[in-house]
Amino acid sequence: MKKNISINLFGTLYNIDEDAYNLLENYLQSMQRYFARQEGSEEVADDIEHRVAELLWKRREAGMSAINIETVKEIIDTIGNAEQIAGESGNGDKYARNEGQYARTEGPGENRFRENFNQLADDVDRFARDAYDKGRQHVKTHRFYRCADDKVLGGVCSGIAKYFNAGEPLIWRLGAIALTLLGVGLPLPIIYIVLWLVTPAAITPEDRLRQQGKEITPDNLAQQVMDDSQPIVVKNENKGCLKAILIVIAICAILPIIFLISFWAKFFFHMF
């Protein structure tokens, strides 16, 4: 049994399963994000929405009573997702891979950082692609993101845990704290802050797939959309305390490092 909602597409009402709706909405949104950035292509997302409406209409005429997720997957397969379209039309490859990232704003400074980072990541991607034709898919789809929905500070630790598919974020967090306190990982807070600044957070389901190194296909996307719509139990009460401890550690760690750097700078200055 599935929950069913009704949607209005250009004046026609359709009944659609909830998971199918999530997938379809996500698809149309990703098209909108992608084409909104390309000058003169604002209409394209609208054209595609019309096409979706038309394909749904045809299926209804053929006797379909409610739209299920299989139907939506079929439609996405016929039209293609943003990455595929960009790959075929050949002019927006780079934009497609960063789909959604440019559109996000968390602060002007951070955004500039991010664009530079994306530029660099693209160059690396391209180089790697030329070098390893076979491994192209891997380089293209596996990227590091912060976890926006499971974070204490910036979601870097849970991002690492997700990227390497290795263990609970909590273990990474405690490990980072322990290393810092032991003195071995003194630069960790700085590395953390840099990663926080230069990497994007995984927001769209496409991001989450790339974060895990999965290919962006309608099937995977559908699975991801369904996983995302599961209610997440957030244990917030402990996070406030952990956050305070982390900030104190970060400050304690950064001060001696700044001191050390200035000391070394002075040392070198005297030597030359």
Partner: protein, 109 residues
């Protein structure tokens, strides 16, 4: 040798010309274009068509008008503008050249 890239480059270059040829005969909306291309066995991912149409429109080669449809949502019918007709003539000529070259080399080798 991996010929996929070359093939897709060839297709890309052709697609624009093919669409203009289609529109030269009669105004079409996206579904007509997709179907005609399909009949002509030109395989293309539907989604790539829309950015292409939008670009041709921006360049002034195509125009469109909305028409209500009794079957589904309103449709955007594309037509070739005068500039588009002129561009098509040029593409015709250059296609002639290309096919002459290819045929010539095929026979020789």
């Amino acid at each position: 040798m991996n010929t996929d890239n070359t093939k897709s480059q060839m297709r890309k270059g052709m697609l624009e010309y093919c669409i203009m040829l289609l529109l030269h005969q009669q105004p079409c909306y996206a579904n007509d274009i997709i179907q005609r291309l399909h009949e002509a066995e030109m395989i293309v991912m539907e989604g790539t068509l829309y950015p292409l149409l939008s670009r041709l429109k921006k360049d002034g080669l195509l125009g469109y008008e909305w028409r209500e449809s009794t079957q589904g949502p309103p449709r955007k019918y594309y037509t070739l503008t005068d500039d588009g007709q002129e561009a098509l003539r040029q593409l015709d000529a250059s296609w002639e050249e290309i096919s002459r070259t290819v045929n010539f080399l095929k026979v020789k080798s």
